[in-house]
Symmetry: C2
């Protein structure tokens, strides 16, 4: 093989990590294969195509033409992968930023596929580029794969950052644990959280519909939530993760890539915002917070994440809310009296 | 807590990795605790003490005095850990390179403990510093923890670098696999190898006795070996790993830290030298090679590793050797005739 290009070893190892991420690969494969009717004879664009695996999947699913757009050197390797999979006549690789791309005759595409997600969905993300591609190249009524992206959160215990350090082979390393947690106050920890260490049902922080999302909406996310602790435990951090949902041919059948603690682990793991101190919480205690994700001025591909604890007395709770506060007990009792089991209660 | 020092976040994460390495922690703990008789009232030096956990273990095992010598900033954190574990009167931390250390009254120590091992034992290793400490500070007849270090090797299959890439969610990524393997020809891969992917019994590449080892001996290791394949398989790399053996109070009871593929995984994993091409081997086929580890001129903490395949016809085989070559079948037959079952055969 001629060495007409060079992909750095570290780049190869990053792609290796992504290509061996089974939930990631399988969810895209499943989403594309389940939608062969949508892909049949269509023109597709893969934004940030990397090694080109999604482009190849689309070709295998019946696409007429796939434009694989990749800015980095891995594009050259992806051309060989396209050949190896006998889809050279369908997949065309463009080694360019999608922002700099023009298609002949101002051609439009029917579908945009992209795996643009970073840690906590947005970090190092290329969602901006995907939106540029959508606005420039997607036909009216065209489809996005994925179509919906959502961020979830739940308060959690962090035994790996707390309890573990109290006894490591008979030695008390709490001071080390303190330092470690202090180091995580400037930068969230990317780590696997055990599902049993979540202290509440997850709540959705935000949901993005990629068909309608505008770039400006990505500059700042702000949301306050109250959750109800579903067990006694130590509140040591806020665990956040994302899901991506693909168009589904059957309305009842959700095609989702989930990076939740209760899903098969992915290379994204979860992201943990470590609290400066731990709090003992009891079952049914309301936990309120505000989270702000603001694009960093220094690096627009990064976000500053700010977490503020709120007074559960002063914020609106969900209805119904299972927490032990009087107002929620009252409204719950009221709802139970009003609604027969199985009734759908109109909360508007 | 006053912020009178700063340990970089990445340093903390490196120490976190080592402190959560259970086989590493437990083998040192077990070795020290099993030898309380040796540690009782003794003076100990911990070379490259890091967070100070080994020094604390020695104090807990009855040492009279422990000198913990650490060049990096983590030394300041280790002082807090020493206090937290109530051994401040026993453990004294020196934030210095051991090469620059002088003890009052030219004091000597009874025992040197150290966790100096790097990938493939020698990489980034601080064995040189341990030997400096030994020659300067260890009493005649003093003990080393660990005492013996050995490197092992076995030919192996590498499905993660070969077979995996032929079908990744229905896509043939062999070209990516090729690139990945090519990238590993300049730098060995640090990865976990499955025990069942080893193609022979392990052979010892070298064994170091830390009581007698001289620094010059670390400049170059050269060894040729023949092993006999114990199954049919694809010979795709040479897997190397190390063990460390601690002094044992009971001669039959080996205290060993093993990083072998058939032992509990450690943060060292295994090191794999990837062959430029794969070879199909059959059971009982002799596989001969020469391995050279030479200290790098640019960085004396790194080694250049060179692996050369040899002709099994032209090198001496072990006696007895289980391979299918005529000379080995003949000598095996001879040995079986000569020795009664249970006899010890003098091979000299």
């Amino acid at each position: 093989m001629g060495d007409e290009y060079f992909t750095s070893y570290s780049d190869l190892d990053v792609h290796r990590l992504m290509l061996t991420d089974e939930p990631r690969m399988k969810s895209y494969k499943n989403a594309i294969d389940s939608n062969k009717d949508i892909f049949q004879n269509k023109v597709v664009m893969d934004v940030g195509s990397g090694t080109g695996v999604l482009a190849i999947m689309c070709a295998q699913a019946g696409a007429k033409k796939v434009y694989a757009v990749e800015a980095s050197d891995i594009a050259k390797l992806s051309e060989k992968l396209v050949k190896e999979n006998n889809v050279s006549d369908i997949v065309q690789v463009f080694n360019t930023r999608v922002e700099d791309l023009d298609l002949p005759d101002n051609q439009k595409v029917d579908i945009i596929v992209s795996e643009w997600m970073g840690f906590y969905l947005l970090h190092e993300g290329m969602l901006d580029s995907v939106l540029v591609a959508r606005d420039k190249f997607l036909k009216l009524g065209g489809r996005m794969f994925p179509e919906i992206a959502a961020l979830y959160a739940s308060p959690c215990s962090l035994p790996d950052l707390y309890k573990f350090w109290t006894d490591v082979s008979g030695i008390n390393l709490s001071v080390f644990g303190n330092e470690l947690r202090k180091s995580k106050s400037n930068q969230p920890d990317v780590a696997l959280v055990n599902a049993e260490d979540l202290l509440s049902e997850p709540v959705c922080v935000f949901e993005l519909n990629l068909r309608t999302l505008q770039t400006e909406e990505l500059n700042k996310f702000s949301c306050s939530r109250v959750v109800c602790a579903n067990k006694d435990g130590l509140y040591q951090g806020l665990c956040i993760w994302f899901t991506c949902t693909f168009p589904s041919p059957i309305i009842t059948d959700q095609l989702v890539l989930s990076t939740a603690p209760f899903s098969q682990p992915t290379h994204w793991k979860q992201t943990v915002i470590v609290l400066p101190d731990e709090y003992a919480v009891e079952e049914r205690e309301p936990l309120a917070w505000e989270i702000n994700l603001t694009r960093s001025d220094e690096n627009p591909r990064h976000y500053n994440i700010q977490l503020t604890m709120l007074d559960p007395e002063k914020v609106a709770h969900a209805v119904p809310c299972n927490c032990y506060m009087t107002k929620c007990i009252v409204s719950r009792t009221f709802l139970e009296c009003e609604g027969e089991p199985g009734d759908i209660i109109d909360m508007t």
